[in-house]
Structure formats: C-alpha cells, structure tokens
C-alpha cells in the first residue's frame, strides 16, 4: 500500500492557456487552481465544497490524471499522478454528474461490458460483477434498455456502477447529485456512505451543503482556486459561531435595498437567492446585535413573506467563508 494517505496534493496549480484568432492571435490565461494542498486518509470520505468556477473540477481532474498540473505534486495511493499515470488509473474510479459520459445508443449492459474490458476486469468475473453492481444501483431488470431512454437519476446510477466496476481504492465523485431528484439524491447518498463504510476512499465535490454535512468526514472549502477552510463539518460550523442569521422571503427587492442592508450596524454579510418570483434574503450579523427590526425597516414597502431569525448552519458557515474570500 505504501503511503499512509490515499490522496496527497501539494501546492497544486493549474493554469489554462487559450489562443483565439489567427491573424492577430490573442492569448488568455486563467489560473483555475492556485496552490491547493491537502491529504485524504485511506477510507476517508472527503468533501470539496465551493461555488461554480472555484476550481473543484480542475482539482479532481489533476488528481485523477485527466489534467497535468501546471506545478505542484499529487499522489494517489502513493503513485505520482503525472509520472505513474497507469498505476493511478488502475486504482481510481471517476464519476461525474449530468447527462454526459455514457454511450447513449447502447444499453447499460453494453456500456458496463465495454468499461469492464477497458479496466481489464477478468472475463470470468465480469458477469457476476456487473449483475452485483446493477443490483447495487437499482438498475437490475432495466440493463438491456438503451441509455438514451434513461432518466437523469438512472444515468447517474449507471455512472456510479461504471465507476465501481474494477473495485477502485479511491472514488472521485464530481457533483454526482447535480440535477437528480430528492429521492434519487437520497439513494445516491446512501450508496456513497455504504461505499465509504466498506473502506473505499471517496473524494466528493458538491454544491449541496446537506450532502456534505451528512456524508463527509472532512470538508475543504475551495474558492477562487484556493482552499479557504478545511475541517470536519462541526469545525467548519464553528466558523459561523458568534453570528445570527435573519432570513426574509421577499418579492421585488431592489439592489439599493440590499446595499442598505449591508450598511446596517452589526451586519457582516448579505446574500440574495432568487427562487422563481421569490427572493430569499439572508443577513448574517453579530450574534449580540438584533438586526431583524432594522432589516424590516429597510424593506418597508416591499412585499414580504416568511421572516425567520435562527442559529447559523453549515451552509451559513460556507457562505461566510466564501464571502470572506471574495
């Protein structure tokens, strides 16, 4: 086994370079990951949490050998991701969220057979292994249907089955529950938890706080290409200690009113989330300052729904960390 860690990332950096135009070529550079360092223990379920464009997928792709780091080093199960590519690939599984990544015009069975060959699963074991995985992800009985007829949840489960064909030591899950309905997402979480309990190391990226909170042993919050915080969900939650959160459902809040809320004494952060016609205003304040009445005064004349004052959650801690990084 070698290394004590399943994953070691040391000052990983990745810059994307692009060139546009022929006559007057314009070169652009985007620094997607800027010096990420962390380790994941064997059998650990580690979460990488961050907003869109934070560098989560780029980090995962450097670790799973799909991208070569611009600088820095990473090892998976003791093998260097740049130099010992094939050794790393034998030991990892990669599952990403969304509709893509499968042969749509083939059946689930054909997809699994092909990937079993690609991962050199011995012929005599393939049939049993595929049947076992189809059972695990709840696709038994539907395996001969073409994937193009599958729902997004079914595709996601097929992705997972494919990622597990060769019984990998480390499983990379890149936003696996994106676009999946709540029931399917719950089943997915159960599958991931079961895998971790059997000793598979899992690196999970997600937007969903509840998912990270429920599943992960430790979480790294990544924003702007850097790790902003790393710890257990309880440790991260403590980042929001000393705060109070006021949530207001409102309709048609102008930007000027949000700016006014930011200027209120005791207010640390404000966030606005659009939910159809409704806007959810979240105001973080110092715990000893009651800002609720001030908030409502600033929103006078605006149609309001539910107003709530509560203790901070992991999501609030995440918002606080990401906002501080912005």
């Amino acid at each position: 086994m070698g290394s004590a860690y399943a994953i070691e990332a040391e000052e990983l950096r990745r810059t994307y370079r692009a060139r546009t135009g022929w006559l007057k070529p314009r070169r652009t550079e985007v620094e997607a990951v800027r010096g990420v360092t962390f380790t994941v223990g064997r059998g650990e379920l580690f979460g990488l949490l961050g907003p869109n464009g934070a560098g989560k997928t780029t980090t995962i792709k450097m670790l799973n050998t799909l991208l070569i780091p611009t600088s820095g080093r990473a090892r998976v199960c003791g093998h260097d991701v740049e130099r010992e590519t094939r050794e790393v690939r034998r030991r990892i599984g990669y599952v990403f969220g969304g509709d893509r990544g499968l042969y749509d015009r083939l059946s689930a069975l054909d997809n699994l057979r092909y990937f079993a060959e690609l991962y050199a699963v011995p012929a005599r074991e393939q049939k049993g292994r595929i049947a076992e995985l189809l059972d695990l992800v709840g696709l038994a009985g539907r395996e001969r249907e073409r994937v193009e007829g599958y729902s997004r949840g079914m595709r996601q489960r097929l992705h997972i089955a494919r990622g597990l064909l060769h019984s990998p030591d480390v499983l990379f899950l890149d936003e696996p529950s994106i676009g999946v309905d709540p029931v399917a997402a719950r089943e997915l979480r159960r599958t991931v938890a079961d895998l971790a309990s059997t000793g598979t190391t899992v690196l999970l990226t997600t937007h969903y706080m509840a998912e990270a909170d429920e599943l992960c042993d430790r979480i790294a919050v990544i924003a702007d290409g850097c790790i902003q915080a790393l710890g257990t969900p309880a440790e991260l939650r403590r980042r929001a200690e000393g705060r109070r959160v006021v949530e207001v459902e409102a309709y048609g809040v102008p930007e000027s009113a949000v700016d006014a809320l930011r200027g209120l004494p005791g207010v640390r952060e404000t966030a606005v989330e659009a939910r159809g016609a409704l806007q959810l205003l979240t105001v973080h304040s110092d715990a000893h300052v009651d800002v609720q009445s001030d908030v409502l005064r600033e929103l006078a004349g605006i149609r309001l729904g539910r107003v709530d004052s509560r203790e901070p959650t992991l999501e609030d801690a995440y918002v606080a960390i990401v906002s501080a990084a912005a």
Binding site: Y16, R17, N64, T65, L66, L67, I68, R86, R89, R90, Y94, F96, G98, R100, G101, L102, Y103, D104, R105, L106, D110, R113, Y114, F115, E117, L118, Y119, A120, P122, A123, R162
Partner: protein
Amino acid sequence: MSTLRLLTVGTLLHVKQISRSPFEIAIALVVPVVQATLAVYLFRSSGEQHRLLEAAVGAGVMGVWSSVLFGSGGAIQGQRWQGTLEMIMLAPRRPVLVVLPITIATGLTGTYALLATLVWGRLLYGIRLDFAHPAAFVVAAVVCVVALGMFGLLLAATFVLMRNANALANTLEYPVWLVSGMLVPITVLPAWTTPIAAVLPTTWGARALREATSGGPVWPSLGICLGISLLCLVLGGFALTHVERRARAAATLALA
C-alpha cells in the same frame, strides 16, 4: 488474450453505437446512390462503358474512406461532445488499444458503403458484377477496410489533440479521393502528386480492389497497402501516447 478481447468487444460496441446514429443511417442511405451515379456518368461520358464496374468499386472505396475519415474525426469529436472521450482515455490501457477499436469500427461500417454502391450500381444502372478475381476481391476488401482503420488511427491521434477535429476531416476528404486514384486514374494527375499517392494506403487499397475487379496482380498492391497501414498503426500508437499527454497538458480531452 485480454487485449484481443478488448479490441473485439470495443470494435463491436462501437459498430453498434455508430450504426444506430440517425445521421449515419441517413448518410449511408443517400451517399452510395450519389457516388454510384457519379461514377457511372463520369465513365459513360468518357466512353469507357466497359469500366463501369471498376468505377463503382472506386466510388465504393470513396465511401469507405469517407467513413474512416469522418468516423475517426467524428467519433473522437462525438466522444468529446458526449463526454466519453475522457472516460475511455482514463482507462488504464495504452491509448492505441482504446482508439483502434473506434477506427476499425468506422472501417467496418464503411464496408456497407462499398457494398451499397455496388448494389445500387447494379439495380439503377445495370452494372454487371463480373469480377476478374472474386475471391481476391473479398480478401482485398477486408484488408482494405482493416488497413484504412489503421490509417484512421494515425489521423485520430491528431483529432484527440484538436478541439475542432471536424475542420481537419473536411479538408482531407476530397484531396485523398483524388490523389489515391479512387475515381480518376493517378496517371492523369500532376506528377507532384505521385509521391503523395505512393505513401497513402488508400492508393494501394483502391488499386488492389481495381485489379481484383478488372484483372491484374492483386497481391503486391494489397501487400504494400497492408505494410503502409501497419506502419501507420505503429506510428499512430506512438503518436497517441504522445498526444494523450499533450491533450492532458492542453486540456483538450473535454469540451470545456
């Protein structure tokens, strides 16, 4: 054994995947009719009625070439679009073993174009299918398809690196038809095209098929076709390993 099984299963599943594409089916129905027509009128107008079968075979090889070219470029690009390129390149196998089944599959689906062109030539224009060496024709057709699949592998190495692989495929289709003498004899082309034609497996494959159709020494042409193709396989294998690394550095395996 495991490698052979990977190549076989991979080729069969890629044939299945390609042949179920509505676009591919539409192309397969229309293109052979157009090509058979083109060949027949071209040769009729030049007063070479007796060479109609040869013309139809040439047109059929054009179909195989188009299938391999657009198949190799299109399949790599298609896999990039559907997100499977990353997944197959991530497998702990040599890149050549991952890509070869795709290009062989495009050659196999191209065989249909060859057969369909001959069938349409017979049905629409009454071309008599009298081959000088029928058995040699079958062997030549099989070797030609496999050889073009290996040539496709070399092309595929470029396509893995290029995000806009289709652009290259589009520019290569007609020049290779012409230079390889699939339809027009090489002898009527400018002298500078001769060295290019000599190194293309398509030239020798088309020549072998023509010789099997109208008479001539099939085997030397077929041997050269196979030799060049095996060289393409070796070069393609090395190129793919190099290109896969470059693609990981340049981040071109995925669309974004």
